[in-house]
């Protein structure tokens, strides 16, 4: 999830062969709703990660400080 265009995300996804969709929040609406940016003019979202339960409730809200190590930590917390 970023403010990039779908085209920019596509290039990013193809380069790394990601197995998940990259969403394009160009209007910043979802980022503002989640508190990842303050205003529609924000240039970048804050590094935040959310886990949403099957019932549609926010289960975890994580301020990412270590992007590389975070994925494993999240997997460990779910399983």
């Amino acid at each position: 999830m970023s403010f990039d265009s779908p085209e920019a995300n596509r290039a990013f996804a193809e380069k790394h062969d990601f197995a998940f969709p990259l969403l394009s929040d160009e209007k910043r609406g979802l980022a503002m709703a989640y508190g990842a940016c303050e205003e529609a003019g924000a240039r970048f979202p804050a590094r935040l990660t959310f886990i949403i339960s099957p019932e549609g409730v926010v289960e975890q809200a994580i301020e990412t400080s270590d992007p590389a190590g975070q994925a494993q930590a999240i997997l460990d917390s779910i399983y």
Partner: protein, 515 residues
């Protein structure tokens, strides 16, 4: 603060009506009944309404003076002509001014060394929101304040519901600077007031019936009241003022309306709640100097800034921003932002002979200024609807370039933009907009060069704001908001697509970054 210099902490408080209250701490640690401070003639000190006081020796004469922020009438100093133990406050408060003689505004004024140069700066809140900083260009003993720079942008008013979290400080901001996390950098605490709205469940049949029963009488009384208001207002400004019998008729109509007005209010489905929040903004250490512009990763240096120059024309607005990327290198990042009203566009490319003028920025560089990186467009264009193998920009377009300052200049650094703005039916005439970044000057106290228009703008000013935890980040247990966004394959994805499954949303700064 220790107001009477007896070694304990007293309380100094502002008030809505404008008096300054003093609660003295006694030897036993209790506070005496508050009393308001009086001027040298014995009258209560008054500088405005909704005031906040700060006691500080601004003129370095060994006693405490008062700095008073007021709701809308500005920031004042009340000089102490007496001593610390026997103050004698000036009858006339003095409006605070910048070095250039501009009045300083602020709903609350607080002195602190914001940029770490050892001098007390002035940080102010505002009735309308936001936080601004007046850098002290003088000494602590003889302060001289620069024009205001925005630390926290004022947010436009938007009606938000009670179930949503607030996204940032609201209005009537009050500020305090402290090193909150003990990392040696000045952090910012901001208090605010804001209103969130709640929509109540629809009225029941029974309630609707009760409302309908009183509505005709309410409407009649409301009409009668409006007539009396009109009548009263017609006398405003007339010699002799409002006649007593007119006032009496107005009051009678108002009294008659009140009980029904209250009953009707209970049927209103929208309810507002007043909130006061405290926001914490933590400063991050500045970027290590000496990096080239390209080395600074996106998202790490977001300057809170105001445009150096701006030009509005019809449905478009051009703004020019500039911020030093590093001090040692005198490298400046220039940003040119075009904002277009809905339905308007500017061309990125146009076929030859079409007559449309694409947007193209250029520079007029005086001796001593070098282009470190040429203009680059940071925005995405879209195919023109006119279909003529052209592309255009909508909403907002940003171009950036980097300049290296080598020597002081006698000429101004100029930016030119060729541009044509169109909607689906018409095109405004092509235009060339000229904006200026000002001259390059050598700072008096050092060998550093800077753009004159960027008075007092330091690399330390380039900060990333971290919203305080738990205040604006979506709290755990909240209902996840719905969305409909396009993914990297062009597929529309909705939150409901993931219903019944656990899913993860990862916000990353930019495609191509490590996340």
């Amino acid at each position: 603060m220790d107001f009477d210099a007896d070694g304990d902490l007293d309380i100094l408080s502002g008030s809505y009506t404008g008096e300054v209250y003093y609660f003295e701490c006694t030897a036993s640690g209790e506070f005496l009944q508050g009393r308001y401070l009086t001027d040298s003639e014995g009258a209560p000190l008054q500088a405005g309404t909704s005031i906040t006081p700060e006691a500080l020796d601004v003129d370095a004469d060994g006693d405490l003076d008062l700095i008073i922020g007021t709701r809308t009438s500005g920031v004042f100093v009340v000089a102490n002509g007496g001593t610390r133990s026997e103050p004698s406050w000036a009858v006339e408060p003095t409006r605070m001014e910048t070095r250039d003689g501009e009045d300083i505004d602020g709903s609350n004024a607080h002195h602190a060394d914001w940029d770490g140069d050892g001098r007390r700066d002035l940080i102010v809140g505002s009735e309308w929101g936001g936080v601004r900083w007046h850098r002290n260009l003088g000494e602590n003993e003889r302060p001289s304040y620069a024009a205001a720079q925005v630390l926290v942008a004022r947010r436009p008013f938007e009606e938000r519901s009670e179930s949503e979290e607030p996204v940032g400080p609201g209005s009537r901001t009050k500020v305090h600077v402290t090193d909150w996390n003990g990392d040696g950098l000045a952090d910012l605490l901001v208090g605010d007031v804001q209103w969130l709205y709640e929509t109540l469940p629809p009225l029941t049949e029974e309630e609707l019936a009760r409302k309908a029963a009183i509505e005709p009488e309410y409407d009649a009384l409301r009409e009668a009241y409006d007539v009396r208001v009109e009548e009263r207002n017609s006398y405003v400004g007339e010699p002799g003022g409002i006649p007593e019998e007119v006032l009496a008729r107005y009051r009678a109509a108002s009294d008659a309306l009140k009980p029904l007005s209250r009953k009707m209010a209970a049927f209103r489905r929208k309810k507002s709640h007043t909130h006061g929040w405290v926001w914490l903004y933590l400063s991050e250490p500045e970027q290590a100097t000496g990096e080239s512009a390209a080395d600074i990763a996106p998202g790490t240096a977001v300057a809170v800034e105001e445009p150096v120059a701006r030009r509005e024309f019809g449905p478009a607005r051009l703004e020019l921003f500039a911020a030093p990327l590093s001090q040692t290198d005198s490298l400046v990042r220039v940003r040119l932002v075009l904002t277009l009203d809905d339905g308007w566009h500017a061309y990125e490319t146009a076929p030859p002979g079409s007559g449309y003028i694409p947007m193209k920025p250029s520079l007029d560089l005086p001796d001593g200024v070098q282009l470190a990186r040429d203009w680059r467009c940071e925005s995405w264009s879209i195919p023109a609807r006119s279909g003529r193998s052209a592309t255009w920009f909508e909403d907002q377009v940003e171009f950036t370039c980097d300049l290296r300052l080598l020597e002081a200049s006698t000429e101004e650094v100029g930016v030119q933009v060729d541009l044509q703005v169109c909607d689906d039916k018409t095109c405004l005439p092509p235009t060339t907009v000229r904006l200026s970044l000002g001259k390059v000057v050598r700072q008096a106290d050092s060998t550093t060069l800077r753009l004159a228009r960027l008075d007092a703008m330091l690399p330390r000013f380039v900060k990333r704001w971290i919203p305080s935890k738990g205040s604006s980040i979506m709290p755990i247990g909240s209902k996840a908001p719905d969305f409909c966004l396009t993914d990297d394959r062009g597929v529309q994805r909705r939150a409901s697509d993931f219903a019944g499954k656990r899913y993860l949303l990862w916000f990353y700064p930019k495609a191509g970054t490590p996340g």
